[in-house]
Amino acid sequence: MQDYAQYDIKDFLADEAFCRWVLRQQPADNAFWENWLRNNPERAGIVSKAKTLISEIHHAQNYLSDEELETELQRLSAARKSATRDPEYSEPTRRWLRPVLLGTGALACVVVLFFIFSNPLSWQTGERTAHVPSKVYKSEKWIEITNDGNSTKSVSLPDGSSVRLSPKSRFSYPAKFVKTGREVLLNGEAFFEVTKNPQSPFKVYTSDIVTTVLGTSFTVKAFDGDKDVRVVVKTGKVTVTANTARNKTREPEKTQLVLLPNQQVVFHRDEQTMKRSLVGNPSPVGQPNAGTLVFENAPVARVFESLQKQYEVQIIYDADLLAGCQLTAELGQEPLFEKLGMICKAIQARYELIDGQIIIQGSSCR
């Protein structure tokens, strides 16, 4: 039996039984120490100080935020689920499950929305068949999800990505992704939230085009159209390729496009051509309410630069020609094209949209 009455604060800290009591609060320890304190009331001060110090030392060693903890537990749970589905898979290291944004707890997302308007259910029959390289088929087990209902169906993929499948659409994915790439098939419409993994590009195969997710957190979105396939990028970077199985004769440079923010690609099925353009109403990238830009006698180049940054669009202009042009304006929440219109009116220029870029045609202000 220790003579706790002689203990100083260091002794209490070093004492195993005392630490166990403070940290674990088990009934037997509680009873002992409450009793001891009753018999040694003059030691209450030092005991409470030692208790506080131990709690502080405990808390001081916590380096994990609740958000990070939640993210990691979800990642683990997703990996465990895919391991359960495929018991033969015995390699524990799956770096591609790594979530992206440390600390925020948010998964970097790639959001892809596809509309494919004709024969949405002619999966492997008929003309619109999703052509996929044979290596994709080689990985044995594929899971096919068909949505015959009236509401969106959620599917979660082995890598933690999620898919919201629209009605009358069909979606297939491998039970486990191969290391070199994550490839899925789509016929119809779906909304993808893809976890980022630079080592393993995420490819969505549709009958006419292949959409490859390249970069960091960004959004891809499509608009309505007839007999068209569209992919729209909001932020980040996406590659759209014509499905080569159907376009063998085409020159490669015409069958692949990189989409930057606020750009979209329209694939015309009849002509089998792809065209890149800006979306109807480009939205600011990042914070939606990034605030009002105020310019006072500012060189117009600076105005274009801030717009380029805000919308991540390409604005092409002759810097030398417009060097003398100054602008006083307050640019707020109005659409990009309205802003451009105002600026061009002020400097007596006009703008054109060519291949997803904004071209400013003007004359010197001098």
């Binding site: 604060i9 260091k10 800290l13 070093a14 195993e16 630490c19 166990r20 403070v22 940290l23 674990r24 609060q25 088990q26 030092i46 100080k49 110090l53 131990i54 709690s55 502080e56 030392i57 405990h58 808390h59 001081a60 060693q61 916590n62 380096y63 994990l64 935020s65 609740d66 958000e67 990070e68 903890l69 990691e72 537990l73 990642r75 683990l76 749970s77 990996a79 465990r80 689920k81 391991a83 359960t84 015995s90 524990p92 290291t93 799956r94 770096r95 499950l97 790594r98 440390l102 600390g103």
Partner: protein
């Protein structure tokens, strides 16, 4: 961020979760991970400040357990088992890294531990800390690495010296020595530790002055 609660008395429950997950109970597995993830993460920060590596290591550890669930044996020390397994994996990984990259020298990094912690980690985790706790954290991070480890196992997880000796594969007496050295060092470094000191000085001074008086 909520404060991490002191070690909850869920060790018996843990044994139950362990047995259930060995019999393919997925929920038990997730629950086990949930209850011990924070402990393992914080423990690993005593070895490296590379939080991504830590997360990978813990992920791998749990997945490995899941794959090997049929072959795992019953254990009444689930926490100690997890700590030991993580320690082995971490040290193995760090040794490999050290061989590849001299900048990740574990021994060398121990002295400058605080400075090397990512700013992000420091900010996130220190938001909810009191000034006192921040000072304690810094003082702990100035200790030699093995003392840090002992302090963690003792004051975060509440392990006994014997259990610490088992985890670190050292003698029980060595653990006791580490504990004493670390506490003495912390006492020197921490003002809160020695708040009783002024009284003692006061007593000393007053007795000294009494003596001086003729």
């Amino acid at each position: 961020m909520k404060k991490s609660t002191p070690v909850p008395a869920d060790e018996p429950l843990l044994g139950d979760l362990w047995n259930r997950f060995r019999e393919n109970d997925e929920q038990a597995f997730d629950e086990l991970a949930k209850r011990r993830y924070r402990l393992l993460f914080n423990y690993a920060t005593r070895f490296t400040k590379d939080t991504e590596l830590i997360k990978d290591c813990i992920q791998d550890l749990f997945l490995e357990l899941w794959y090997r669930r049929a072959r795992l044996t019953d254990t009444s020390y689930v926490t100690v088992y997890l700590i030991c397994a993580l320690r082995n994996n971490l040290l193995r990984k760090l040794r490999v890294n050290t061989r590849l990259d001299d900048s990740v020298d574990i021994a060398a990094s121990s002295d400058v531990f605080t400075d090397n912690l990512t700013v992000e980690t420091m900010l996130i985790s220190s938001e909810s800390m009191s000034q006192n706790e921040r000072e304690i954290r810094n003082a702990i991070n100035r200790l030699p690495r093995r003392q840090q480890e002992v302090i963690f196992l003792k004051f975060y997880e509440g392990l006994s010296n014997e259990e610490i000796a088992k985890v670190m594969d050292i003698e029980k007496q060595t653990v006791a020595n580490f504990v004493h050295r670390a506490i003495s060092q912390l006492k020197n470094d921490l003002p809160s530790f020695s708040q009783i000191m002024p009284q003692i000085i006061f007593l000393f001074l007053s007795s000294a002055s009494t003596e001086l008086q003729p």
